[in-house]
């Protein structure tokens, strides 16, 4: 995708807590060490409905891609990362690349209900898109990886996915003569290593950004860009249907974890954060390029956007872990149709992605 349409900026404001947070994920909580008082009810100022212009302002596309200060953008890194992303030799069988499951032709997913890994075995979850990963706060459906650099190395080494031990991969890449100068240009003075491999792939992935969609034209003032049905759908999305409680902002996610009541045994985030509301909770996906990304949900269990809207209208499976935001919505048939019409405005006319010539 033409990342050149975006400027590039350093991500600033790293939180004081970042280092501590990375140690959290695998800890089970034993409660009771700090004293917790009774919960009280406080009257909040009554919320005034945001006017349409103020609401639309929350959905404006950003002007630049955020790159972390630990791994700033360079064209050399991006070009190396693109070759690595499309190189099947990153898997032990030399049959799978990152693009096998995160394919630009399928909205940077794979068009399947669940991914297919090593030995053509089905995986447990739907392959998420990499579109707009630059804005991600945490990675994987269950949030087990903290940043895109870690994410890049995860599936490569996972026995069920590309099944490639990292030392074996680096030996293989070093033996491919044309990779050496590409690494040297991207990382002057550094060795070819898992670290530089991850930085290059992550840099390329950050340049995969959803293109302007009809929705963006409407947000910026073209009233003809989307239908009246879709405009009503936008109002429902932000109102009665409460979609924007989680699918917020221009990329339509706050990266939060919610049990949305899908009848699945998978505990998701609950494996890494042992509190009630994280059981069966999965990361809220963004909604850009959504019509190219079916089937939907973490388990690929819903084939169409209509089915997704029906699920939310029903409120899903009632269980203690289910998000407090999930409840029957009572949407009328026209309202459901309006929501789907709105969601369809989030898909752009994607430019084709060129597959790079790979080093030999």
């Amino acid at each position: 995708m033409p990342a050149s349409k975006f400027g590039r900026s350093m991500q600033t404001g790293s939180l004081v807590a970042a280092a501590l947070f990375t140690t959290l994920s695998f800890v089970n909580i034993s409660f009771g060490a700090a004293l917790v008082g009774e919960t009280r009810r406080t009257e909040l100022p009554s919320k005034t409905a945001a006017n349409l212009d103020a609401l639309k302002a929350q959905y404006r596309r950003p002007a630049s891609i955020p790159f972390p200060k630990e791994n700033p953008y360079t064209p050399q890194k991006m070009l190396l990362g693109k070759k690595l992303y499309f190189d099947t030799r990153l898997s032990v069988t030399s049959a799978q690349s990152c693009a096998s499951c995160h394919n630009p032709g399928f909205g940077w997913g794979d068009g399947l209900a669940v991914g297919v890994g090593h030995g053509m075995a089905k995986l447990g979850r739907h392959s998420p898109t990499v579109v707009n990963a630059a804005w991600g706060a945490i990675f994987m459906w269950d949030g087990r990886l903290a940043n895109l650099e870690e994410q890049a190395l995860g599936p490569i080494q996972s026995p069920g996915e590309m099944n490639m031990p990292i030392e074996q991969l680096m030996t293989r890449l070093v033996s491919i003569a044309e990779y050496k100068p590409l690494f040297a240009e991207a990382f002057p003075g550094e060795d070819m290593s898992a670290k530089t491999l991850a930085k290059a792939i992550a840099t390329y992935e950050r340049t995969v950004v959803s293109e302007r969609a009809p929705f963006d034209d409407w947000i910026e003032g073209n009233e003809q860009a989307i239908s009246e049905d879709a405009k009503r759908g936008f109002a429902l999305f932000n109102g009665k249907a409460q979609c924007s409680s989680c699918h917020e902002g221009w990329n339509f996610t706050n990266d939060g974890f919610q049990d949305i009541g899908l009848p699945s045994e998978d505990v998701g985030r609950g494996k890494f954060l042992a509190v009630l509301k994280m059981q069966h909770a999965f990361k809220t996906p963004g909604l850009r390029e959504i019509t190219r990304r079916s089937p939907y949900m973490h388990d690929g269990s819903l084939a169409t956007l209509e089915q997704v809207v029906e699920h939310y209208d029903s409120g899903g499976v009632e269980r203690r872990s289910r998000s407090d935001l999930m409840k029957p919505l009572g949407l009328a048939p026209q309202e459901k149709a309006d929501l789907v019409a709105f969601l369809k405005t989030l898909t752009s006319n994607l430019d084709p992605t060129g597959v790079p010539v790979l080093p030999r």
Binding site: F21, L24, A33, L35, T39, R41, L44, D255
Partner: protein, 107 residues
């Protein structure tokens, strides 16, 4: 796991905060953000977590000696937490991964 539902029900029927809030340091959560990235309290002092946002939050810490889990609390709920061990306490919202803050508990 703590069961807060009965407590929440009790407060929903009419308990209200009064001046008690003003006496404590209060961390608010509007816009899926803690009002401070870091605060300092003395051991044994209370910190109040007030959900003044439009969505539920699940504030917790797994930091050794100061673990707590407030569970999923709706807009308008507030709870006091008293820290018992000195040190840095990472407080997060389980639901919203961008919400992180450090409470430094001093002797």
């Amino acid at each position: 796991m703590r069961k807060l539902a009965p407590l929440i029900s009790a407060v929903l029927v009419g308990l209200s905060v009064g001046a008690a809030l003003a006496a404590n340091l209060t961390i608010t959560q509007k816009g899926r953000m803690f009002s401070s990235e870091s605060v300092s309290v003395k051991k044994g002092e209370m910190l109040t977590f007030l959900n003044d946002d439009s969505v539920p939050h699940n504030i917790l810490s797994t930091s050794k000696g100061n673990e707590f889990d407030l569970g999923s609390l709706p807009p308008g709920a507030s709870t006091d937490v008293t820290f018992k061990e000195a040190g840095d306490v990472l407080v997060i919202c389980a639901i919203h991964p961008r919400m992180k803050m450090v409470v430094t508990v001093t002797e």
